[in-house]
């Protein structure tokens, strides 16, 4: 049975990733005033952060329309898919999956299984890659679904923002939380908990933040039954130097992992976390 895989642009993978893995990506939209861009499709992260620095107004984002999803599903049905797995950014961060769900009300050609990943960014991208690999090595539809469920449960993303300002302005963190430590230069370490942004730790000083992040990653991995086969991801915004820095900290901490991918945080997620952010994903 041919299974189509659909995700959205917040999986933070470049366009050629989706071509390589035969996955359909539906982009969210980023607006700078009148200027409208499709996330990752016609706005790559480096350009976005450049724009963000030079533009006075903050960018705004929109979830894909119902029609965008309906078109994507129709195309897969036309290409001979018999089922579709559509896995997306946490429904508590974006209405993207709501659009997908509404599209399913009108698109009835083949069954679509919607999965709220409760995650986003590079770790969602990694899950999509796992799903595509499973499909291409002969996994059944049911096996793919249970893999996706496993990934949702085990997937983590921890991140450090330079300032909570962007999360607050974008409405992705409570005002009270955003205010915490705003007068001291406190670096909060955040994570996605049940699909929403929650503080995990607060430290003073950029160096301590990195160390604390690594400590938390180590704790996460050591709490697992399978301590050796963790897949790690490092994501950066406008700070590519973080990749080498975090890599060496991971090695110094003696964290064992199966593979380590790196990638950049795209425009939509970047709108909410802001420049200077870095993240580690675990799967």
């Amino acid at each position: 049975m041919k299974v189509g895989i659909v995700t959205d642009s917040t999986a933070d993978m470049p366009v050629d990733f989706y071509e390589r893995h035969n996955v359909t990506m539906v982009p969210l939209v980023v607006r700078f005033g009148e200027e409208i861009h499709k996330d990752w499709v016609d706005l790559i992260p480096d350009e976005f952060y450049k724009k963000m620095r030079s533009s006075d107004a903050l960018p705004k984002t929109s979830q894909p329309s119902v029609g965008d999803f309906a078109t994507a599903y129709e195309k897969l049905a036309k290409d001979g898919c018999e089922r579709i797995i559509s896995i997306h950014i946490s429904s508590r961060l974006s209405g993207t999956i709501q659009s997908a769900r509404a599209a399913c009300q009108v698109f009835k050609d083949i069954p679509v299984t919607l999965i709220d990943s409760e995650l986003t960014a590079i770790v969602l991208g990694r899950i999509v890659e796992e799903l595509a690999n499973a499909r291409d090595t002969g996994a059944s539809f049911e096996e793919m679904i249970s893999l996706a469920e496993d990934c949702r449960r085990s997937g983590r993303i921890l991140f450090v923002v330079d300032t909570l300002k962007y999360l607050e302005l974008g409405g992705r963190i409570g005002k009270a939380q955003a205010l915490l430590g705003s007068l001291l230069s406190v670096k909060p370490i955040l994570h996605l908990e049940e699909g929403i942004v929650a503080p995990r730790a607060k430290v003073k000083g950029a160096k301590k933040a990195k160390r604390e992040l690594i400590t938390l990653v180590k704790e996460e991995i050591e709490a697992r039954r399978d301590k050796k086969n963790a897949k790690l991801m490092i994501a950066y915004t406008d700070n590519p130097e973080m990749v080498t820095e975090l890599k060496s900290l991971i090695d110094e901490a003696g964290i064992e992992y199966d593979d380590l991918r790196t990638g950049q945080i795209g425009a939509v997620i970047g709108t909410y976390v802001g420049p200077g952010t870095y993240a580690i994903g675990i799967l």
Partner: protein, 532 residues
Amino acid sequence: MKSELTAADIKDIIKNCAAALEAECDEINALNVFPVPDGDTGTNMFLTMQSVIEEMNGIREDVKAYATAIKDGSLKGARGNSGVILSQILRGISDVIIEGEVLDAGLITRALNQGSRVAYEAVMKPVEGTMLTVIKDMAKAARKAARRSDDIVAIMQEVVKEADESVVRTPDLLDVLKEAGVVDAGGRGIAVMAGSALAALTGEKVAVRAVSKETMIQSFEDQVIDLTYLNCTEFLLKSDTIDVDKFKKSIRGLGDSMLVVGGGGMYRTHIHTNDPGKVLARATQQGELSQIKINNMKEQSEERAASLKEVKEIKEIAVVAVAAGEGIKRILRSLGVTGIVNGGQTMNPSAADIAGGIDSSRSGKVIVLPNNKNIILTAQQASDLTKKEVSVIPTRSIPEAFAALLAFEPEKSLKENQRAMDAAFKAVKTGEVTRASRDSKARIGDIRKGDTIGIYDSDIVTAGKDIIETGEALIRTMLDKDSEVLTILTGDGLRPDDMLELRAKLQKEYPDMEVEIHDGGQPLYPLIVGVE
């Protein structure tokens, strides 16, 4: 009497709806706090309707063709959660119109009900107090009105009325709205559309009731303000001989918001007063009283205010800190401190002062940060004076308080917080610069009254004549190779700008160290330094 809608009516309705949403866009955006407070509900609903208009443009004027365009256009253009739900409502409505025969009252009622049903189905976890509730209530009102009348305008009047009322009820159904003091943005958008649909049919402009975030918040706050006159006093006065003007004059001085209305021997009287007895006594001189009602408005408003705050009060831990200096207090609050007791080195607060701070916090669980070694015992005493569950974290300085607060998590238990905060504050070293209040002997030599002295770990480690020089010597004593962050609080006559030279010097010597300087405003200690 309008018994049937035409294609032209539909076009007018849609145009009116889009125009009204555009006009109310900012106001609706400002209400948006749920599910994600990103302030775009109005924009999204408007864009969705605009897409409907684009889809309708250029097609032949036909009820079913229009219904199809409404369905397709809204689906294609749906933006945001509110837009998607709106598109589902419109899909339900359109489906009924497409399959129906005559667009009469019965069909419209069925269409609204289908719109509500489809929208509920489309949402994974329907939440009440949102636009879903509003469309559901509208559909119900339509059903009820259709039993009495075939007139579409009459039915729509009932629907619009209910829509408005349903919007006002949304904060009762959804706590986040109540906490934010707003009505639901999407629900409001739907009510605006209902009102403009009716306006399109009657040809009248419907004045949409303005409920902005500001006015809502104000109206909630209004109920909490101090009241000059406490008792709302109402009664019915029966008298054939009354001189109304004279009666009014006789009670006017006793309060405000006075109303005496009626005629033919019956007068309803209403006044806010602190002396309802006197009002009633004067009224009995005029005639017979009945239906007497006296309400304590303060109690009412407090109850309402309490019910607004309720959600937040129950679980979270409050933090009370002892501190002096405006800058320090501001930073403490930014770190989650909810109550501040004035005090410090030379003005130790009493146990009763601290207990007062504990008792006036809203939570039943309170953490106390004494921030001075001479206040730790007092704070522990204070915890015996209150019925609340109290945990004293024995912080001896403001930098220790900052460190402890970074580990504070209001939703966790007192015990967990105590453990985490204890560990956190112990990782900080604190030093202070002050002036010697008398001559004395210290390990480092004789100290003269008025000398600047640097204190670290209860020891005078350096002395001199210049505050900044003494500060520099103190900081050097405190720093070691593991120091990463240096926090300087300036007080008593010093400003952060006075420290820039020292900062530059230190940063050159310790390039990896982060230096933060804040205006603490504390008395007696020109410098407080934290090293971690």
